[in-house]
């Protein structure tokens, strides 16, 4: 007993020591199975955020399963990764203490068949009803190939949504196929009159097997897989994947490559936010007010194509830098365009926010309570609009962000309007950042060949929607495990809370104010 106590103190102390420093490092700390409950219970009360949780098979000489718990503490740039080697196929659920574990653990169960006997929710997550029982695609024993699934599902076998009962409560099922040009997902509303009483979101209709697909590929081959995680986050995910590989190889990237990557990353933020803002204005039925945002967004898509040959900036980023340089003329053209962009963008804001009915619909709608941000691991504009000063570009600086001037854009109203405002200010910041970079960029190499080594590393990036987490394990030069957790996966749970007490017609608006990626969630 005494020894257990000491060990617990020592593991806890290791975690605390790791967080008391701020070196932007990832610190792996082993934790024993018998000790795990105590350590996690002790951490639960200390403002520690579980930002990722995933399994690896045959990791570092342990032939079974290892669970990796990625922890952050606000204020420290270090990331702690608790390493739990399992003796069998069972682990303790911590979803009661760390709410973000709710989907993470179900994802692990589906992928590897690891059970969490004390979990409060044991439903399958990304393997829907037609998948066979006992099928776990991320097991090394499963070779990736087409499988036979069931062609129909009886009503008894259908996914069971939470039943809300009471006088006047009724359900509205929406999706997976929606009315607009939108990705598929299911929203189950329980409603009283017009007011939303409960919302349960079911995702993973688009599950494409991204993580399994990456296994056995070379890092170069895997970039296109990273780009397809979520089409409108291609640059962020390709850069994050490349960063993880570069970390494994202990490679340093030419200055110009990082300057150009940063230009692409910020362009992606601009067009993504522009789409969200247009969408919010469309959803309050003011298409004339949305049009200027759509026009600007199209112009950014065209700039993307001038710079990279792809409207979504696909096919240029690679581990080691960029596959090709961006010509001087294209960069000068972008700088000229951005000078014209800012006044047009301000006009667009004036038009949209000059309408009192727009303001009326956006204000006080869809509030994400700030106390949910850490437990659910909400990130990006959704968190910053709720007063949380979190931005991976500042908290865990990568590339050249520590040399760039910009502020975290914070707003504390937590409603749709505050998300609209945070996004609009971030667009202006990104445009300024890009213009400054173009003014100072020097010619030079954009690629440095990597010397491939084996190993594993974590990369965190601030994509437009929030923090994206990428973990890569390379064995004998090929990808053994690629774990991705985009911001969308966690931020979906923010929507379940944000809609409560709002009316059903405001759901599309609240949804659009976060504009999460279904593809990036479902993988």
């Amino acid at each position: 007993m005494e020894q257990t106590g000491n060990r617990r103190r020592s593991t806890l102390k290791l975690v605390q020591d790791a967080f008391s420093e701020s070196h932007n490092r990832e610190v792996y700390i082993p934790v024993m199975e018998f000790d795990f409950d105590n350590v996690l219970t002790a951490l639960a009360g200390r403002d520690v955020v579980l930002t990722g949780l995933f399994a690896v098979e045959n990791f570092k000489g342990h032939s079974g399963f290892t669970l990796l718990y990625v922890l952050e503490q606000r204020g420290s740039s270090n990331t702690v990764i608790l390493k739990l080697a399992l003796s069998g196929k069972e682990a303790l659920s911590i979803a009661g203490d760390f709410a973000s574990a709710w989907w993470f653990e179900r994802e692990i169960r589906d992928g590897f068949g690891i059970e969490f006997p004390n979990a409060f929710d044991k439903r399958r997550l990304f393997l829907h009803e037609t998948y066979p029982d006992d099928f776990h695609p991320l097991l090394k024993s499963f070779i990736n190939q087409p499988i036979t699934t069931r062609k129909s599902v009886t009503p008894e076998e259908e996914y069971s949504f939470k039943e809300m009962t009471g006088e006047g409560v009724y359900q509205i099922p929406v999706g997976p196929v929606h009315a607009g040009i939108i990705e598929p997902g299911h929203f189950r509303f329980s409603v009283i009159g017009e007011t939303i009483f409960n919302l349960e979101i079911r995702m993973f209709y688009k599950h494409r097997g991204i993580e399994k697909l990456a296994e056995g590929k070379t890092p170069e081959q895997c970039v296109s897989i990273a780009e397809t995680i979520s089409g409108d986050e291609s640059a962020a995910n390709a850069v994050a994947f490349s960063m993880a590989v570069e970390k494994v190889c202990q490679a340093s990237i030419p200055a110009r490559a990082w300057q150009l990557r940063t230009i692409l990353l910020e362009l992606e933020r601009i067009y993504s936010h522009l789409g969200d803002m247009a969408g919010m204005i469309v959803d309050v039925a003011f298409p004339r007010g949305a049009s200027p945002f759509f026009i600007l967004r199209e112009e950014i898509f065209r700039q993307n194509a001038f710079l990279t040959g792809s409207r979504f900036m696909k096919g240029i980023i690679t581990p080691g830098g960029l596959k090709k340089d961006i010509p001087r003329e294209a960069l000068t053209g972008l700088a000229e365009y951005l000078a014209a962009f800012l006044p047009m963008f301000e006009d667009a804001l004036d038009l949209a926010l000059g309408s009192s009915s727009v303001v009326d619909r956006l204000e006080t709608t869809g509030i994400i309570r700030p106390e949910l941000i850490n437990p659910l691991n909400i990130s990006g504009p959704a968190a910053r609009a709720g007063g949380a000063a979190i931005d991976t570009r500042r908290d865990h600086p990568y590339g050249i962000y520590d040399k760039l001037e910009f502020e975290k854009q914070i707003n504390d109203k937590s409603d749709v309007m505050s998300r609209f405002n945070v996004k609009s200010r971030e667009i202006m910041d990104s445009a300024t950042m890009i213009s400054n970079l173009i003014n100072t960029i020097q010619p030079g190499a954009v690629f440095a060949p990597l010397e491939y080594r084996d190993g594993y590393a974590l990369a965190l990036i601030e994509a437009a929607r929030g923090q994206s987490l990428h973990w890569v394990n390379i064995k004998a030069g090929i990808i053994d495990r690629y774990k991705v957790r985009t911001a969308s996966l966690c931020n979906w749970q923010a929507i379940e809370h944000a809609v409560l007490g709002n009316i059903v017609p405001d759901f599309p608006l609240i949804n659009k104010s976060l504009n999460l990626s279904y593809a990036g969630t479902d993988l």
Binding site: F142, N144, P146, H207, R208, G231, K314
Partner: protein, 177 residues
């Protein structure tokens, strides 16, 4: 704030459109001609995502934005498959979307046409022969035309639809002749 008020008083119904693209407009007008002769007045499209990476959806939405504005060519995206002449399907048809894809197709009234847009919908793309997908729309429902690309641009999508119209006209000639 002052600018906001002056804008209100100076706004015109028709403003100077600085983003007219003659090539795209010419393409659209040809498509409009085909739509009128083959479909009567207008063409209703239902979009269905069966597992894309969302870039194709964005390009389809872009077709309805001011730069492209395909409604001026008599083409609109509709909210229900029951209202649609054409189903545009994107994605490699994941197992999790298979039943929904079949139901959507079955909900359409005949005659109905299916266009696969994007590499994944055309042949499964990089997901071909993997566990989670069927590997292309034509594995699940009949497909009349494929528009490849990662993703195809708005131009390429409209060009593809024009190709479908030509194929239909050729088919008509065959059946009538």
């Amino acid at each position: 704030m002052f600018r906001r008020f002056t804008k209100l008083f100076t706004a015109n119904v028709i403003e100077d459109i600085k983003f007219n693209n003659e090539e795209f407009t010419a393409l659209g007008l040809r498509l409009k001609g085909e739509v009128i002769s083959l479909f009567g007045r207008s063409l209703a499209i239902r979009e269905l995502d069966s597992g894309s990476d969302n870039a194709t959806e964005i390009e389809l939405v872009n077709l309805t934005t001011p730069y492209y504005d395909i409604e001026r060519f008599g083409i609109s995206f509709v909210a229900s498959p029951r209202h649609a002449d054409i189903l545009i399907i994107t994605g490699s048809v994941t197992h999790n979307m298979e039943i929904a894809v079949k139901k959507t197709y079955e909900a359409m009234a005949a005659p109905k046409f299916v266009v696969a847009v994007g590499d994944d919908a055309c042949n499964g793309g990089m997901f071909k022969d993997t566990y989670a997908v069927n590997g292309g729309a034509d594995k699940i429902i009949p497909v009349d035309l494929k528009i490849p690309g990662n993703p195809p641009s708005p131009h390429e999508i409209i060009n593809g639809l024009l190709g479908l119209m030509k194929a239909m006209r050729a088919g008509q000639r065959k059946t009538s002749g």
